[in-house]
C-alpha cells in the first residue's frame, strides 16, 4: 500500500526512535553470555528471540537479525511512494541478492551440497532471479553463471573466461558488485536531484573502501599478472593509479593522506593493522553521511533512508555482539566494532 511521503517520513521518524539506543547497545555487549544477551534483548523492541535447537548459535542469531531487518525494509518499502520504493528495493534487495549469488558461486566452486549452500543464503525471496533452489541444484559454477542469462546479472557471463583463466571466482564476484553499483546509479536517476547525492556518496565510498582493501591484500600476496582493470572494474574516489600506488608503495600512510579527510578517517586503523575497524569506520561514515543529510531536511526521503541505514547498522552490531557473546569475548573488545546510534 503506497502512502504519501510525509506520512512515511513520520513513520520512519517514529521507528528511528524505537531503535536501540547507546545504553541498550552497551548493556547488550556487557552480557556475560548468549543467554543473558537474549534476556536483555527481550527487554527491547526485539522481544524474546528463540533459537532453540539451533546447530550453530551465532549463525541462527544472524538469521534472526537478518529477518528482523528485512521485515523493517519490507514494511517501509511497502509504504514508500513508487519511485523511492524502487530505489530502496534496488539498494537493499539487489545488494542482498548479489550477496546470495556470490555465496552460491562459492558453494559451487568448493563443491558444497545444495542444502549447505541454501542454508548460507540471506533469507530473502528471489528478486531478479527465478529461484535460489534452482541455482543451488546446478552442477557447476559455469552452469550457474549461464543460468543468469536474461537477468540483470547476465554481465557475469562475460567474466567466465577470467574465471577459467585464474581458476578463481573473484572476477565473477567483482562483476556482481559492479552490476549492483551500476544498477543502483541507474535507478537513482529517477529520484529528484536533491535526493541523489547521498546514495551516490554511500555506494561510491563503500566501493572505494572495498577496492582499497583489495589493493592492500594484493600488496601482501604473491605478485600476480592480473590487469588492474580486471581487479578493479569500477572505481570512484580512489582512481586506478592510486590503487596501483597502494599496491606498490612502501609508505601506505602517504597514499592514504593524499586521499582526503573522509578516507583518512575510515582507513587510518590500517596503520595498526586492524582492517576490521575499517569496516566499522565505513559503517560509521554511512551513519554520519545519512544523519547529516537527514538533518538538512527532516521531512524528506533521507529520513526513510536513514531509518533503513540505522537498522542495517543495528543488525550488523547485533550479529557481531551475538557472535562475540557465543565466543565469550569481553565487552571492551566488542565495543570498538560497534557503531552506536545516538
Amino acid at each position: 500500500m503506497k502512502l504519501d511521503l510525509t506520512y512515511v517520513v513520520i513513520r520512519a521518524h517514529a521507528r528511528i526512535a524505537n531503535l536501540l539506543n547507546h545504553q541498550q547497545t552497551q548493556r547488550l555487549t556487557e552480557s556475560k553470555d548468549v543467554q543473558e544477551f537474549l534476556d536483555r534483548l527481550a527487554e527491547t523492541s526485539y522481544g524474546r528471540i528463540s533459537i532453540e535447537g539451533a546447530e550453530v548459535v551465532p549463525i541462527a542469531l544472524e538469521k534472526v537479525f537478518y529477518e528482523k531487518f528485512l521485515e523493517r525494509v519490507l514494511k517501509i518499502i511497502d509504504l514508500t511512494p513508487q519511485v523511492m520504493g524502487d530505489v530502496l528495493k534496488t539498494y537493499y534487495y539487489l545488494r542482498l541478492e548479489t550477496l546470495n549469488l556470490k555465496r552460491i558461486l562459492r558453494g559451487k566452486f568448493s563443491g558444497l551440497p545444495p542444502t549447505k549452500i541454501l542454508e548460507s543464503l540471506v533469507p530473502i525471496s528471489p528478486y531478479h532471479i527465478r529461484s535460489y533452489n534452482e541455482l543451488a541444484e546446478l552442477g557447476s559454477v559455469n552452469e550457474v553463471v549461464q543460468h543468469l542469462k536474461g537477468t540483470p546479472y547476465s554481465g557475469v557471463i562475460s567474466k567466465l573466461n577470467l574465471y577459467e583463466k585464474h581458476e578463481a571466482i573473484w572476477p565473477l564476484e567483482l562483476e556482481l558488485s559492479h552490476i549492483f553499483a551500476s544498477s543502483i546509479f541507474e535507478v537513482v536517476k529517477s529520484l529528484p536531484g536533491k535526493d541523489r547525492p547521498v546514495i551516490h556518496d554511500i555506494v561510491e565510498f563503500e566501493a572505494d573502501i572495498e577496492n582499497f582493501l583489495v589493493a592492500v591484500k594484493q600488496r601482501q600476496g604473491p605478485k600476480t599478472e592480473v590487469k588492474l582493470e580486471e581487479i578493479f572494474p569500477t572505481t570512484y574516489g580512489i582512481p586506478l593509479d592510486k590503487l596501483r600506488e597502494v599496491m606498490e608503495t612502501k609508505d601506505l600512510r602517504k597514499v592514504i593522506q593524499s586521499l582526503g579527510e573522509s578516507y583518512v578517517k575510515v582507513l587510518s586503523p590500517i596503520y595498526e593493522g586492524d582492517v576490521a575497524l575499517i569496516r566499522t569506520g565505513l559503517r560509521r561514515h554511512k551513519y554520519e553521511v545519512i544523519t547529516h543529510a537527514r538533518a538538512s531536511n527532516e521531512f524528506g526521503f533521507y529520513v526513510i533512508m536513514a531509518y533503513l541505514i540505522y537498522s542495517e547498522i543495528e543488525k550488523d552490531n547485533l550479529v557481531g555482539i551475538g557472535w562475540g557473546k557465543a565466543q565469550g569475548i569481553p565487552s571492551q573488545d566488542l565495543m570498538k566494532y560497534v557503531v552506536i546510534h545516538r
Binding site: 550453530v56 551465532p58 549463525i59 544472524e62 538469521k63 550477496l99 556470490k102 555465496r103 562459492r106 558453494g107 566452486f109 568448493s110 558444497l112 549447505k116 548460507s120 540471506v122 578463481a168 571466482i169 573473484w170 564476484e173 582493501l213 583489495v214 592492500v216 591484500k217 594484493q218 601482501q220 600476496g221 600476480t224 593493522g273 586492524d274 582492517v275 576490521a276 575497524l277 569496516r279 566499522t280 550488523d316 550479529v319 557481531g320 557472535w323 562475540g324 565466543q327 569475548i329 573488545d333 566488542l334 566494532y337
Partner: protein
C-alpha cells in the same frame, strides 16, 4: 605359608625366580629413569613452545574475531568454503622405550586463494603461520601424556616388586631355608644318636 613346599628343589626354583624378578626390577628402574628424563625434556620443550605459541595464537584468534565481527559468521563460513585444498595429515606411530605416541605428518597445507576478504585472509595467514607449530605441539603433548602415563605404570610396577613381591619371595626363601636347616639338624641329631647306639651295642 600355605602352598610352600619346604624342599631343596623348591628353594632352588624360588631363588631362580627371585633372581629373575630382581633383574626385571632393575630393568624397570632403568626404564623409569629413562622415561623420567624423557618426560622432563618433553615438558621443558612443551613449556617453551606453548609460551611462544600462545602469543601467536592470541594474534590469530584476534584476527579471526575481527573477521567474524566484520563479515558475520555466515559470510565467513561461505568464504572459508572457497578454500579448496584442506589441511591433510597422516598420523603415524612412533615409540620411545616401548611407549607408542602419535607422530603427525603434514601431507598438504590449505592453499589460501585470493578470493578471501582481507580480514579473513589475514586471519588465515596468521593461522597458516602457526599451523605447523600447532601440530607439533599437539604431538609433543600427546607424547608427554603417554610417557607420563607409562612412567606412572612403571613406577607402580617397581614399587610393587620392591615392596611386596621381592620381600614375599625373600620371606618364602628364608622360611624354606630355615625349615631345611631344621630338618638337616634333626637329621644330624638322629644320625648321631643312631651312631651312638650302634657304638654302644658294639661294645
Amino acid at each position: 605359608m600355605s602352598g610352600v613346599r619346604p624342599t631343596k628343589g623348591y628353594l632352588m626354583e624360588m631363588k631362580r625366580r627371585i633372581g629373575f624378578i630382581e633383574r626385571g626390577c632393575e630393568f624397570l628402574k632403568l626404564k623409569r629413569d629413562h622415561l623420567a628424563k624423557e618426560l622432563s625434556a618433553s615438558l621443558d620443550i612443551l613449556k617453551g613452545r606453548r609460551k611462544l605459541l600462545l602469543n601467536n595464537l592470541k594474534e590469530a584468534y584476534d584476527a579471526l574475531t575481527a573477521a567474524y565481527i566484520s563479515l558475520g559468521p555466515t559470510e565467513v563460513d561461505s568464504q572459508a568454503s572457497s578454500v579448496k585444498s584442506a589441511l591433510q595429515l597422516e598420523v603415524l606411530p612412533r615409540s620411545v622405550m616401548g611407549v607408542r605416541y602419535p607422530y603427525v605428518k603434514i601431507i598438504s597445507k590449505p592453499q589460501i586463494t585470493t578470493d578471501l576478504d582481507i580480514t579473513l585472509a589475514r586471519a588465515a595467514e596468521k593461522i597458516y603461520e602457526i599451523l605447523e607449530e600447532l601440530v607439533q605441539l599437539a604431538e609433543y603433548e600427546a607424547r608427554a601424556e603417554r610417557i607420563a602415563d607409562e612412567l606412572g605404570k612403571t613406577n607402580r610396577k617397581v614399587n610393587a616388586l620392591e615392596n611386596t613381591v621381592i620381600p614375599n619371595y625373600k620371606q618364602v626363601i628364608k622360611f624354606i631355608g630355615s625349615k631345611l636347616d631344621e630338618e638337616s639338624l634333626e637329621e644330624l641329631v638322629r644320625m648321631k644318636r643312631i651312631g651312638g647306639a650302634l657304638a654302644s651295642r658294639r661294645k
